[in-house]
């Protein structure tokens, strides 16, 4: 983009710094207090310890909740990869009114406030007599991240010259062989980046989860419940762990997700 004069860059950097402070300030404070304790109004600098982390590991409720959240994430990602890819191929296979409508439907959960998606599913499960459980949470997350996988895979498909598929068929390959040898290898990187983004989105997702969840707890559910009872110090440790995990995930995603323009 534009090359800015020094003064402008400095000013923008200031604002950006402030924003970064807003975003990370609370997180860093929590991290800080996972290591140190507060007594009356002063920080006890000699209280550095990993106690909070120890407590976290022993907090079965939280650990189970994290586990469930990861399971839900994994399942939602797997489902959305399969269905999203299927839908992308279907859309790419031709032009029709029905396809446009279908695409719009796929986009809906992302375009509406999550509370609506969650409530719609809640009502549906009730009317269809489906008991709320981790399964319903998985369905809710899948519906939500589907559009992401769909868009990424579709963009990849559309970037492939149609002559590649024609060439493969021309040389005698069946449709399955064409998929296996020509299309699938091109899709791998797209699928990986879609999977990572979908997983991250699923992990962050709270509103839908709280609405369609059953008794088995996921992380949002657990913390939601704790809010009434009060937080325990190991939550600070949890903040640190999650931040570390998210950073690792982002770095991983960076290797696979193509930036909008090549690195200059």
């Amino acid at each position: 983009m534009i090359r800015l004069p020094r003064a402008a860059t400095a000013l923008l950097a200031l604002v950006a710094g402030f924003v970064a402070l807003l975003l990370y300030g609370p997180l860093f404070v929590a991290i800080f207090f996972s290591f140190f304790r507060l007594e009356r109004n002063a920080v006890r600098w000699d209280s550095f310890s990993f106690d909070a982390y120890g407590a976290l590991v022993q907090n079965e409720g939280i650990i189970e909740a994290i586990g469930n959240t990861l399971i839900v994430g994994g399942a939602a990602v797997a489902l959305s990869l399969i269905i999203g890819t299927l839908l992308a191929f279907h859309y790419h296979g031709g032009r029709s009114r029905a396809r446009e409508v279908l695409q719009f439907i796929i986009f809906l959960p992302f375009l509406m406030p999550p509370i609506i998606t969650g409530l719609a599913l809640l009502i549906f499960f009730r009317e269809a007599d489906i008991p709320r459980s981790l399964v319903t949470v998985v369905i809710g997350h899948t519906v939500f991240v589907l559009v992401l996988v769909y868009r990424i895979v579709l963009a990849r498909l559309q970037s492939l010259p149609p002559s590649l598929v024609e060439a493969s068929l021309d040389l005698g390959a069946s449709r399955w062989q064409t998929f296996r040898h020509v299309l699938a290898p091109s899709l791998t990187s797209a699928l990986i980046s879609a999977a990572i983004l979908a997983f991250a989105l699923s992990f962050d997702e709270t509103l839908i989860t709280l609405l369609v969840t059953g008794t088995s707890s996921t992380l949002p559910m657990r913390l939601w419940a704790m809010m009434r009872m009060g937080f325990t110090p190991d939550i600070n440790a949890l903040v640190t762990v999650i931040l570390a995990g998210s950073t690792a995930l982002s770095l991983l995603a960076l290797r696979f997700v193509k930036p909008p323009r090549a690195l200059e």
Partner: protein, 300 residues
Amino acid sequence: MPSGRAVTTETVGVDRRGGAAVDPYRLVVTILAYALPIVFILVPLAMFLVQSFYHVEDGRIVRDLTLVNYERFFTAAAFLPVFVRTCALALGVAAITVALAYPVAFLLASLEGRRKYALTLVFVIPLLMSYIIKIYAIRSILGGNGFLNRILLYLGVIDQPVTFLIFNLNAVLLTLSVILLPFAILPIFVALERIPRNILDASADLGASSWRTFRSIIWPLGLQGTVIGASFTFMLALGDFVTPQMVGGTSGFTFGRIIYSQFGFAFNWPFGAALSVVLLVVVMIAIVLAGRLSRPGHPS
């Protein structure tokens, strides 16, 4: 050769004049493809709309179509004012986030190479963390015993803990703004990124100052992204019920919480559905208006 040629049945040389033109494998795949989104997206939505026309009597849902819920929303004292206040809150959140996000996105777009992507990452990572964790972290700062107060006390800026930052609408406003910031940064960044370098060079070549270039070229071309960012944060803020519950206290009551309680204690699902429909309509209107705003003169 027609453009936009996709791989259709045509390109596989299927006989148009008879013979098996329908491949059973393809049929099954097509049916599956349509079934899943329809069953789990369209049907729930339809049911949800229908539910808003039912009503509750003696703790049971009566399945007769009625407008009673909508009437109640508009006439009863408790709901419309809260809704309007929540809309104002959401607008406030959208305004704050976009105002802060634009400079950040602009800065990111003006960088090159590794610095650009490293810095973008910094602003994107918070998106990947659990939502509720972020609220917790912010809450612990804002409270009477929270970090913010301690710092201010310590620095002597105030001599009494400030309580107007927690358990009220201000807290909700601040918290939502901070949490939704990255959602605003991304679309603006993407839109600014797309501006071709040569257009900006042309502007400078023709003698425009940096400010002029910004006003006449960068701003309009980036407008669509800005509007997307604003409408996205508006939508997310409007329907949120977690943040108000965690930092709103009793005075920080938003529409989202009212809706949520219909599915909890109040146990009036049809009414909750009706309230949500109102929410949805407002969001749709906002998105359409926003779309109009960014449309004129936009090249794409």
